[in-house]
Symmetry: C2
Subunit: 465 residues, 2 copies
């Protein structure tokens, strides 16, 4: 009899898991439960449809439902799993009752952190996530005059740019002194913030959200819709509020089932993506994964991570053998008119964690200086004092090669490459596609020189900014 | 008294050397001899001015002559060095007589290999190299109806595309069965060749040049100008012939001075770029450098290599300490409407050298599938059977990230990364700049699967194509 794997969640982690099970055990009985009407679309594309870069939502669908049927994956749409019993090896499903499994993969994803202020039940508060809702909200954006984006996380960045491109008067509020402060350094974000100002965006940093304020219907009664937000810096009028607070793991089922959670609230998994419960695996934003250098647990990584974790969980649930390692977190995203990216951590995080570092920086270029459309590429490398082993990197540039450099630098950190190794790296020189001096090489060379000339005196001391 | 370093050659290697000496020993007396009117321009940009991508030749100049004066580098323009006496530590210079040195750096560069056929003294034969001549030739191109490019090397590729963009009827002749056969594989070049045909280029492969044929002045006398080339496949009419035979080291002076040359004709240097003669260093296209894996000597690398070698030679000549290693040769260039690139070697070279390999290929994309202007990125990885250590890579794509991937893959080869390591690499996923699945990761994953499923049976046997 085929073994039955139940997967809770139809996102990148859930579907990566389903594929992993089928690859390891083509006879396996694979059931995916999702509370949504769809699977296999790319939620990451939603802000770019709002911004007009992508012409319609239909493009975000990657495969038709039939493709899963054909692959022998049984997706139950708009179906909720309400409980897990790891001893009985069953899940309770609305409308289906108690369903047994041989193996279970929990890929329940994430939610936005509750803003925790009054007025959260008003209309006009947009949590970007589901594509069907996004289609409705897109019509709302067309009617919107003024919007507030709450918190400058990755999605907040994208939505600020998207709303500005749509001609909406856009305000960004964030309690930190600069945007994307949980990942990026202020020098990397400065040009991004400048480009938002050029787009007419109003930036409110060091500003805390205090309440959503509702409007009235003109007769003195509340109309149930947001008309403004109250902040530590005053009131800001808004027809629409996009809430992009940080991601929290959707761990309700896991917690109730007694599965061990870590400090982030994400499930703790081993290298095979196995949870603390027998026959239960996890993948995606509901698990936490250690950082490769600091071993700090991380949660809320990218769709690419979720998919790879799913593949690992599914392969192992299907009887195969695959491991997933600690992460070095290459990242990148358009922001304003620039593209930013990096790997591991930057100065702000190193400082917060008390990690000493030496620094090599370069303001380089993406093509020959004289070639049309050459773009700036700023590279900043952080290395361990003494060994000069790379421990982090951040970049900002016009876009060319930022993603590929981030991938490379994450792998360089994983392999223990030093600034010496990067300063002696060969690079392609061809005027239309690469400059004589690769910016990474220049940054590494500067880092080596800085470490040498200062005899260690330029090691940045770990201090709060 | 300051030590005097004489540098022969004003290209990337020569000027990199001059900078290296000054960095190591700011008091050094540095004299650069060049037979040309200029230094510090980018010859690599010339084909792109001819093609119209770069609007004028003036942009190719990187620094004014004053910049070298200011840096304390004494450049003697239009000056020829006619002999070296390594025992007496002197050079003989036209117009200056016998000039003593403490250290000598030979950076005399390269020449095109002599086509070795009759008619080589006719007008209308263009050897792309010097910028002043290129300015004159650009006017000739404007008047040209039909051109032949001789040999499909890196410069030939660029000139074919440039001439086609200028509306010239362009023919490419090459004795090999496909373009760039000394570096690239046929499957990588196939889309390039197709795009040339779309541009109206006539491709003549397996075709040998036999003679340049002169025209007559209408009265029956020879006019001294080329009117056609004779080939093994017949005669091709041409007002202009661009000769891009392979680069040979300009070793006349070195050879006469008894400096040890290698099998390529390039000077043999150690890791500090020191030649066999006391106090004599070398850099750039006049030296040969071993390939990092095969130890085969390579000659005629890029301007980026020449510059780095010059820096090394200059630093050591100036009393510093810097090493230059064996090379893994990342390369890349636009070709037709595509960009091609790679690192180390491809299947054709592996086969010719009798090196066995397993292969991982992927047809990937540069952005999310649904994001506008997404480009194809084909990646092919070669690995050592058994260990699956990466030994080579080739790519063809729309352009995005080809250069940065080539840099990365060369460094991955240097660091002994395996297909397993690359298949478990993290990657940035952000719709506008990177796809869910990085093409390198997919290619590596396919390579691992292929090696595993075949149990080694799919190891490509080394055979002549």
């Amino acid at each position: 009899m085929p073994r039955k794997t139940v997967i809770i969640g139809g996102g990148a982690a859930g579907l990566g898991s389903a594929g992993g099970v089928k690859a390891a055990d083509p006879e396996a009985d694979v059931v995916v439960y999702t509370q949504y009407e769809d699977v296999a679309y790319s939620p990451c594309g939603i802000p770019y449809v709002h911004g007009g870069e992508i012409p319609d939502f239909e493009r975000l669908f990657l495969a038709g439902k039939q493709a899963y049927v054909d692959a022998g994956i049984d997706v139950h749409y708009e179906t909720e799993v309400t409980a897990i019993d790891t001893a009985a090896k069953t899940v309770t499903v609305t409308g289906e009752g108690v369903v047994p499994y041989d193996n279970l993969i929990i890929a329940t994803g994430w939610n936005y952190a509750d803003p925790g202020v009054p007025g959260g039940d008003l209309g006009g508060l947009y949590y970007v996530k589901n594509i069907r809702k996004a289609m409705e909200w897109d019509k709302v954006i067309s009617e919107t005059k003024s919007a507030v984006v709450v918190e400058a996380g990755p999605l907040g960045l994208e939505m600020v740019t998207a709303l500005a491109h749509r001609g909406v008067e856009t305000h960004l509020i964030d309690p930190s002194p600069y945007a994307l402060s949980m990942m990026a350094d202020p020098d990397i974000m400065a040009p991004v913030e400048e480009s938002w100002r050029e787009l007419g965006v109003h930036l409110h940093f060091n500003t805390t959200l205090e309440a959503f304020i509702g409007g009235s219907d003109g007769l003195g009664d509340a109309d149930g819709k947001v008309r403004a937000v109250r902040t530590s810096g005053g009131e800001i009028a808004a027809d629409l509020v996009v809430i992009s607070t940080h991601k929290t793991p959707e761990n309700t089922l896991a917690k109730a089932a007694g599965i061990k959670l870590g400090s982030t609230g994400g499930m703790i998994v081993d290298e095979r993506m196995k949870t603390s419960a027998p026959n239960v695996w996890g993948a995606g934003d509901v698990v936490e994964i250690p950082h490769g250098l600091t071993r700090t647990p991380l949660q809320g990584l990218t769709g690419s991570h979720a998919y790879a974790q799913g593949k690992t969980a599914g392969t192992n649930a299907g009887g195969g053998d695959r491991t997933y390692r600690a992460v070095y977190v290459p990242w990148g995203t358009p922001a304003g008119k620039w593209v930013i990216g990096g790997a591991s951590f930057g100065e702000a995080t190193a400082t917060a964690l008390g990690i000493p570092y030496v620094k090599g920086e370069a303001q380089g270029i993406s093509r020959a200086r004289y070639y049309p459309d050459v773009q700036p590429v700023k590279v900043k490398l952080l290395a361990e004092p003494g060994t000069l082993r790379l421990i982090g990197a951040q970049m900002v540039g016009g876009g060319e090669g930022i993603k590929e450099r981030a991938d490379f630098l994450a792998q360089a950190i994983r392999f223990g490459m030093t600034l010496h190794d990067l300063s002696t790296m060969e690079n392609v020189y061809s005027p239309a596609i690469g400059a004589l001096n690769e910016p990474i090489v220049v940054a590494a060379t500067n880092g080596v020189a800085s470490a040498r000339s200062a005899g260690g005196a330029r090691i940045e001391t770990a201090r709060k900014a």
